[in-house]
């Protein structure tokens, strides 16, 4: 693969994360992971203080500022954060 093609392919590895099972990231706690997700989805959350597992890839996140979200992976592989 040429360098430019490989460069463009760099954007794909992230997409491939959707394909496999989630693996724990040693450096990032579930609370921090959920906060990053909520922020990336454009929703407010200063800090996740409670992360309640509902099922695999399915959590209720309670933020310090009182916001509460149902964070889950939808059937089509997209991560959703529904305000509760």
């Amino acid at each position: 693969m040429s360098a430019p093609a490989r460069a463009a392919a760099l954007i794909f590895p992230l997409a491939t994360f959707c394909a496999g099972p989630l693996t724990a990231a040693d450096d990032v706690s579930l609370e921090k992971d959920l906060r990053s997700v909520i922020i990336l989805l454009g929703l407010p959350c200063d800090q996740v203080v409670i992360a309640e597992p509902v099922a695999d890839n399915d959590h209720i996140a309670t933020c310090k500022d009182g916001n509460r979200y149902h964070v889950f992976v939808s059937a089509d592989g997209r991560v959703v954060a529904d305000s509760q």
């Binding site: 040429s2 360098a3 430019p4 093609a5 490989r6 460069a7 463009a8 392919a9 760099l10 954007i11 794909f12 590895p13 992230l14 997409a15 491939t16 994360f17 959707c18 989630l22 693996t23 724990a24 990231a25 040693d26 450096d27 990032v28 706690s29 579930l30 921090k32 992971d33 959920l34 990053s36 997700v37 990336l40 989805l41 890839n57 964070v71 992976v73 592989g77 997209r78 991560v79």
Partner: protein
């Protein structure tokens, strides 16, 4: 302060418009090695949580679809309009990695223009997606 500096540099360079990557830079053996390594490091980094990686994966797919649509449309200006969302995507990666995996963040920053150059080149892009 370092975070603010990185953000400002990205914003300023993003406002400067499309920056062409010199072919000699993109095709150098050293750069190829760096890109392969970066790809692996992005997959393996523990600086980004698993669910966050899923969100980024969704965003990467969406962004690639936008590049695909613009390339099919055939207007160079349309691809250039993706500079801001591309910068935002890279900015998110930098924000997530710069504290816990600063070497990866630095590599991402260094290769940002090379990746952009590949995504905006129709020939390279179509070869990549197999169209």
């Amino acid at each position: 302060m370092q975070v603010l500096g990185t953000v400002l540099i990205l914003l300023i360079s993003g406002c400067a418009g499309v920056v062409e990557t010199p072919p000699s830079v993109a095709s150098s053996p050293e750069m190829q090695l760096n890109l392969a390594e970066l790809e692996s490091r992005l997959r393996d980094t523990t600086a980004i949580g698993a669910i966050t990686k899923l969100v980024l994966g969704n965003e990467a797919s969406d962004l690639m679809n936008r590049f695909r649509a613009q390339h099919l449309d055939g207007r160079t200006a349309g691809v250039a309009s993706l500079r801001q969302p591309y910068n935002m995507f890279i900015l998110k990666l930098l924000a997530l990695t710069q504290d816990r995996d600063p070497n990866l963040a630095r590599s991402l920053s260094d290769l940002r223009e090379v990746i952009w150059g590949a995504l905006t080149d129709p020939k390279t892009f179509h070869a990549l997606i197999g169209h």
